[in-house]
């Protein structure tokens, strides 16, 4: 049964590049908090004591302004970042779909990229061979699949990555923005796919700034602020709390009670 359990997770990033002063300036204005500034390095606390659970059928939206830790949290859920403190238990096959331009070999052809991505996601050669036709059809790329992916538009790359990531019938699908960057026709198809996926009793976590998108796909939401969970509950409450919080941000942020477990 697919589920994710996150308990008291802390994540912080060491920043090794120089120019700490200007960086400190940027980071305190927006985003995570700087935990310690020594003369050698800066540490950005991206997530602080984050705890929550996601179960089957949950379609969780992650809200928060730029740098609140949304992408970092997704990477923790994907098992890419190991937290510094706390515990993460992920049950089920995870398919992350983050920044499409990364993780794709631009010199390889579309078919090669389907294969590579499938293998990275834990598919076997046999599984890929049986599904490659279906994936190719979904992407609607036709003959382009024989060309290097560097010749593709952003939308075409998105379709390719999305096609593979949803074809592996993951238990847990992690999406970071991006899916809005394609044409309307694709959104329809993606919509159908996502719904089918969710019906197969999977778990989905979606990060986006688009409230309409989040409302359309999600039933639960989590609001992050400076790396801490400030709200978790139904999507509607979260969206209104978040939009209100935005207006009140100058007065000290969200005042809604924390209702995580």
């Amino acid at each position: 049964m697919p589920s994710i359990s996150v308990q008291h997770v802390d994540v912080s990033f060491p920043i090794y590049e120089g120019a700490q002063r200007s960086l400190r300036h940027i980071m305190t204005n927006a985003g995570g908090r700087i935990a310690s500034v020594t003369h050698r390095r800066v540490v950005v606390e991206a997530l602080k004591d984050v705890s929550f659970d996601v179960h089957r059928g949950d379609r969780l939206a992650i809200l928060g302004h730029n740098g609140a830790g949304k992408t970092t949290l997704l990477r923790v859920l994907a098992g890419i970042y190991e937290p510094l403190r706390g515990q993460v238990a992920i049950e089920g096959r995870v398919a992350p779909l983050f920044d499409i331009s990364l993780g794709m070999d631009l010199d390889a052809t579309g078919y090669e990229n389907i294969r590579i991505r499938g293998l990275y996601l834990g598919m076997t050669e046999a599984e890929i061979s049986t599904q490659i036709g279906e994936i190719a059809e979904f992407t609607e790329l036709g003959e382009f699949l024989h060309l290097p992916t560097r010749t593709y538009s952003l939308g075409m790359r998105t379709r390719l990555a999305f096609g593979v990531s949803t074809c592996i019938t993951p238990d847990i699908l992690l999406l970071d923005e991006g899916i809005g960057a394609v044409d309307a026709n694709f959104v329809e198809k993606a919509d159908a796919r996502l719904n089918a996926l969710i019906e197969r009793s999977g778990v989905m976590v979606l990060v986006s700034h688009s409230m309409s998108l989040l409302r359309r796909f999600c039933n639960k939401a989590l609001v992050l602020e400076h790396g801490s969970v400030v709200f978790i509950g139904s999507i509607d409450e979260a969206v209104s709390a978040y939009t209100h919080g935005h207006e009140r941000a100058s007065e000290g942020g969200l005042t809604r009670p924390l209702s995580s477990h």
Binding site: V76, E82, P96, F98, G103, E112, L119
Partner: protein, 273 residues
């Protein structure tokens, strides 16, 4: 097939997780086999002869250096050139493994931050890629042996054993240099300069016998022993037992250091790249 991934910050699980990482990468070879091939193919995409540029450039190097150095060292070309070809091929393998070890994780930063796959995949990919190059270079060795009508005999079959030891060192090298390079970006250029320098003090173009007296730089160079346990079988000589002992000892040590570093910092690599 539901998989359960548990990440805790507790250190006692580090060794177990690092071990599981390497095992699962090894048991799913398709990924790194494909990645290694693509990396080789990619470099020569749109070229007429493709990866055979590797073969051609080594062939030219062997011919040119063979003519000059056999005179310089006053050696019989029939003995010198096969030995030179074998030496250069193995040196390219060792140098490639060291340099690729540095970039094992760095070169795949995008993928590491995108898709959760064992990091061992990148170590094995780097080793495999260099063995593909070795395969292309072996054509030169075979041609040279045919030209001089040399038959290495049964000792030839010791060469794969030596190559296996080099492969293990390549993986260890990826664990050490790959992790360190992800954190300290000055390491790759330092290493590539060092490798160039070491080429000249390792007996590849010349033999230790060419030296007037024993030189500690040769005696204490572990790469010399790794090189010889493959080079000698390729030209029909059996390496002394002491060479095997040193090579095996060095491999165990490098694997121990490599695995400790990898286990300790594996979880940090995604943050560093």
């Amino acid at each position: 097939m539901p998989t359960i991934v548990v990440h805790t910050a507790r250190s006692e699980f580090r060794i177990r997780r690092a071990f599981r990482d390497i095992v699962s990468a090894t048991l799913h070879p398709h990924l790194w086999l494909v990645l290694g091939w693509l990396e080789v193919k990619q470099k020569y995409r749109r070229s007429k002869i493709g990866p055979f540029w590797i073969t051609l450039s080594l062939g030219i190097m062997v011919a040119a250096l063979g003519v000059v150095y056999s005179r310089l060292l006053d050696a019989e070309p029939r003995d010198y050139i096969p030995s030179l070809a074998a030496g250069l091929i193995i040196w390219q393998l060792i140098a490639g493994l060291i340099n690729d070890g540095c970039t094992a994780f760095l070169a795949f930063d995008g993928v590491i931050k995108q898709l959760p796959a064992p990091l061992g995949v990148h170590l094995l990919r780097a080793v495999w890629r260099n063995f593909i190059i070795l395969g292309h270079n072996m054509i030169v060795y075979i041609l040279v042996m045919l030209i001089y009508l040399k038959n290495p005999g049964l000792v030839f079959f010791l060469a794969p054993v030596g190559l296996a030891l080099i492969a293990l060192n390549g993986a260890a090298c990826g664990m050490i240099l790959g992790v360190l390079s992800a954190r300290f970006r000055d390491i790759p250029p330092i290493v590539s300069n060092a490798v160039q320098l070491i080429f000249f003090i390792t007996p590849v173009l010349w033999r230790p016998e060419n030296l007037k007296s024993r030189v500690w730089v040769v005696d204490w160079n572990p790469l010399y022993y790794l090189l010889e346990i493959v080079r000698r079988p390729l030209v029909g000589e059996s390496p002394p037992l002491s060479f095997w002992a040193i090579a095996i000892g060095f491999t165990i040590a490098s694997l121990a250091v490599g695995f400790s570093l990898f286990a300790r910092f594996r979880g940090r690599v995604a943050y560093w790249v």
